[in-house]
């Protein structure tokens, strides 16, 4: 089955991003296709490289980045939601004058528009939403 995933909550405060990660991983291991994982609302906070969780805890951002690397996943962070919450790639950091090195988008993630979410709904057999 071709699936798209929507993640609407940030890491650690809510279970949603862990559940989304476990679901995505399990779906891939069972041979399903993931068309796209889209991060919206506080879900965009899954995509910052600046989180430093305690060493004896899971690193949610790193989990996503490694999964993306292994399966060539398309992890998309909503640009409008990301700008509100301070998630920037190099282009956005430059465009908004945030200075050298301000980009904090994590490896394997990219920033794009909400149209990518609608397309994910159109192209997949199922869009699975993880939120609160």
């Amino acid at each position: 089955m071709k699936l798209s995933i929507l993640v609407n909550e940030g890491p650690y405060t809510h279970q949603a991003s862990d559940s989304a990660y476990q679901f995505t991983k399990a779906a891939l291991e069972k041979g399903n296709e993931i068309f796209r994982v889209f991060f919206y609302n506080d879900g965009v906070n899954n995509g910052t490289r600046l989180t430093v969780p305690p060493q004896d805890d899971r690193n949610i951002q790193k989990n996503w980045s490694e999964l993306a690397d292994k399966y060539k996943l398309d992890l998309v962070v909503c640009i409008a939601a990301a700008q509100r919450r301070g998630i920037l790639d190099e282009g956005e950091a430059k465009r908004h004058g945030k200075g050298e090195g301000a980009a904090n988008i994590a490896p394997g993630f990219r920033i794009s528009g909400l149209g990518q979410l609608i397309e994910a709904g159109i192209e997949a057999d199922r869009l699975v939403v993880f939120g609160d």
Partner: protein, 135 residues
């Protein structure tokens, strides 16, 4: 691209206090450009999003409720409102903003966008969708 799918946006939360209602509306506006069949559902505290006379001056937050009235121009003409959610909150249909659209298939006659359904009907509306986005 494949043929049009049915998208339902489920609004479950009050308009202010959290950002869910506003960011849901932002998806609806972008999604309207994709020529899909779009409906909105309002359940639980989500019914407050349609309340008349919203005034956010004291909050310092933008009052986005007028945007709902413009959605008809984007082809979003079906707002399913759950009757039980209204009753549980002491609201009646008269407490909501009048929202209408111009029916281009009927000489641009002005028609109501709000469709009041009970919980069982809402379940049927949801079952009938291809994509359900819940905020």
């Amino acid at each position: 691209m494949s043929e049009a799918k049915k998208f339902l946006y489920v609004n479950r939360r009050a308009p202010y206090g959290t950002i869910y209602a506003l960011e849901s509306l932002e998806v609806v506006l972008i999604g309207a450009a994709f020529d899909q069949a779009v409906s909105l559902a309002f359940i639980d505290d989500g019914v407050f999003q349609l309340a008349k006379g919203q005034d956010t001056k004291g909050l310092g937050v933008k009052n986005f409720s007028p945007t709902f009235r413009a959605l008809g121009d984007y082809g979003v003409t079906k707002f399913y409102v759950e009757k039980e959610s209204l009753a549980e909150r002491g609201l009646s249909e008269d407490d909501l903003m009048p929202i209408t659209y111009e029916d281009e298939n009927d000489g641009f006659a002005e028609k109501p966008s709000l469709i009041f359904v009970d919980r069982a009907e809402m379940a049927r509306v949801m079952r009938d969708q291809d994509v359900v986005l819940s905020f």
